[in-house]
C-alpha cells in the first residue's frame, strides 16, 4: 500500500454555467526536487467531458502537461501525469473542464500534486 502525500490541492464545485471552467494553482516545489504525481480528481463530471492541465514554466521532465483527456467514468474519475520536478521550480498551473453536458449538482474537480510514499 502506498501513501499519497498531497503537497498542493484545490477543490472546486462546478456549476456548469459555462461550457468550460478553468482554474489556476500556484505551484512551488520547495528546496528538494523529486517525482510528483499531478492529478485531476473528477467527481460527478459527465462522461464525455474533457479535462486537462498545463504549467506556464518549463523545467519538469516531462513537462507538466495533460492533453485533453476524456472523462470515461462516472461518478469518480482520476487522470494525470507523473513528472520529475527540480528543486525550487515554481509555476502557475492552469487546469480546466470542458463539459459534454450540464453537470448535476455536486460536480467538482480537485487538482492534486502529490508525492507517493510507501507506508
Amino acid at each position: 500500500m502506498s501513501k499519497l502525500n498531497i503537497t498542493h490541492s484545490k477543490n472546486h464545485l462546478l456549476s456548469g454555467d459555462s461550457a468550460r471552467e478553468e482554474f489556476k494553482l500556484s505551484y512551488e516545489q520547495g528546496e528538494e526536487g523529486g517525482r510528483v504525481q499531478f492529478s485531476l480528481v473528477c467527481n460527478n463530471i459527465p462522461v464525455g467531458s474533457t479535462v486537462g492541465f498545463s504549467a506556464d514554466k518549463p523545467g519538469p521532465d516531462p513537462p507538466i502537461y495533460l492533453p485533453p483527456t476524456l472523462v470515461t467514468i462516472f461518478p469518480a474519475f482520476i487522470t494525470g501525469i507523473v513528472s520529475q520536478i527540480l528543486a525550487n521550480y515554481a509555476a502557475e498551473i492552469t487546469y480546466y473542464v470542458v463539459f459534454s453536458q450540464t453537470p448535476t449538482s455536486g460536480a467538482s474537480v480537485e487538482f492534486q500534486a502529490a508525492i507517493i510514499a510507501q507506508s
Binding site: M1, K3, V41, P62, L70, T72, I78, G80, I81
Partner: protein, 290 residues
C-alpha cells in the same frame, strides 16, 4: 417430465424447474459472461436481475469475468463448496461433445475457492466471478459449461470420450448449464496481466487506484479491474485512452477491511503498434495521508 428440486440452471429466461428442459440449451442466462467489468455486490445485483439476461460480450486477450447463479427449488439451504463447488468450463463449440477437451476455469480474484449458497426457494450467486482470458477465435466459437451440484442429483460430467447427445444431456440435468459465448476478437496488440494482489488489511479506507503508464503509446486504451466483490464502487476502470507518455488514470473506492483481490490491467494498443519495449505499466493503490 419431472421437477428438479435442487439448484436449477435455466437454459432460457422464464423457465422453472422442469426437466428435461425445452427449447435451445445454449442460451443459459444463469451463466453470465460479464466482459472486463465487475460489480460491487454480485449477490444482490444478479438476484435482483434474475428475470433478465445480464450477459455481455467477452473481449479476447483481456481479463474477463463470468458469474454463475441458480435457484434453489429444494426445501433446504444448499451450500456448494469444497468438492461440491460450482465449476465452469470453456470449450470450442466444435469440441463440445468431447469433455476431455474442456478447460476448467479455476482462477478466482481472491485466490480462494469458489462457492455458491442458496436458501430454500432463493437464488444463489457464485461468491466471486470466474476469470477467463480467451484468445481470438475464428471459424468456431467458444461455449461455457457450468456444473452446480445439489443433494440427490447426479450432475457429474460423463467419464466418456464423447457425449453423443450433448444437448439432450444438458436438457436432462438441472444442474448443468450451457452458453455460447459472444466474443469480440482483438484488432490490435492486446495485453493483460495481474498488476497487483491487493490486501486492504484490518482497516477500511478510501483508496485511490491508479495505473501509471510510462512510454505507453498515446492512443492505447487502458483498463483495470478487481473481481472480488466488496468495494464501492467496484474496482473497475473502464477503458481510458492514454493521452501522454507519462499518463496516470484511475478511480477512487471505499474498500472494506480485510478485502483482498488480484487487480488485472488490460492494454489495447493502437492498430499497427507492436513495439512497446520501453513501456512500463504500474498499478498503484494509495490512501490519502491525513
Amino acid at each position: 417430465m419431472a421437477t428438479y428440486n435442487g439448484i436449477f440452471e435455466r437454459s432460457s429466461l422464464g423457465q422453472t424447474n422442469i426437466v428435461p428442459r425445452q427449447g435451445p440449451m445454449y442460451t443459459s442466462p444463469d451463466i453470465i459472461p460479464f466482459g472486463i467489468g465487475c460489480v460491487s455486490d454480485p449477490q444482490n445485483f444478479f438476484k435482483s436481475n434474475y428475470d433478465a439476461d445480464e450477459g455481455r460480450p467477452l473481449e479476447a486477450g483481456k481479463t474477463n469475468y463470468i458469474y454463475l447463479r441458480g435457484k434453489n427449488y429444494s426445501n433446504q439451504k444448499i451450500d456448494d463448496s469444497g468438492e461440491n463447488r460450482p465449476r465452469l468450463f470453456w470449450a470450442k463449440a466444435s469440441l463440445l461433445s468431447y469433455p476431455s477437451t474442456w478447460t476448467e476455469l479455476t482462477r478466482s480474484p481472491d485466490r480462494r475457492p469458489f462457492s455458491l449458497a442458496a436458501d430454500a426457494g432463493s437464488i444463489g450467486v457464485v461468491n466471486q466471478p470466474f476469470i477467463w482470458c480467451p484468445q481470438d477465435i475464428s471459424n468456431d466459437h467458444y461455449c461455457l459449461i457450468a456444473q452446480v451440484q445439489s443433494p440427490g442429483y447426479d450432475n457429474s460430467i460423463p467419464d466418456t470420450m464423447q457425449i453423443s447427445d450433448f444437448a439432450g444431456w444438458v436438457a436432462n440435468h438441472g444442474g448443468i448449464a450451457w452458453r455460447s459465448v459472444d466474443l469480440i476478437n482483438s484488432t490490435s496488440l492486446t495485453i493483460t496481466n495481474e498488476g497487483m494482489f491487493y490486501d486492504e488489511g484490518d482497516m477500511a479506507a478510501v483508496i485511490q487506484f491508479t495505473i501509471k503508464c510510462m512510454n505507453v503509446p498515446v492512443g492505447t486504451k487502458v483498463s483495470f479491474s478487481a473481481g472480488a466483490p466488496g468495494p464501492v464502487p467496484a474496482i473497475f476502470l473502464p477503458p481510458v485512452t492514454v493521452t501522454s507518455l507519462n499518463f496516470i488514470t484511475g478511480i477512487q473506492c471505499q474498500v472494506p477491511a480485510y478485502y483482498v483481490s488480484s487487480i488485472y490491467y488490460n492494454l489495447e494498443l493502437p492498430p499497427g503498434i507492436v513495439d512497446i519495449s520501453t513501456a512500463t505499466v504500474t498499478l498503484q493503490a494509495a490512501y490519502v495521508a491525513a
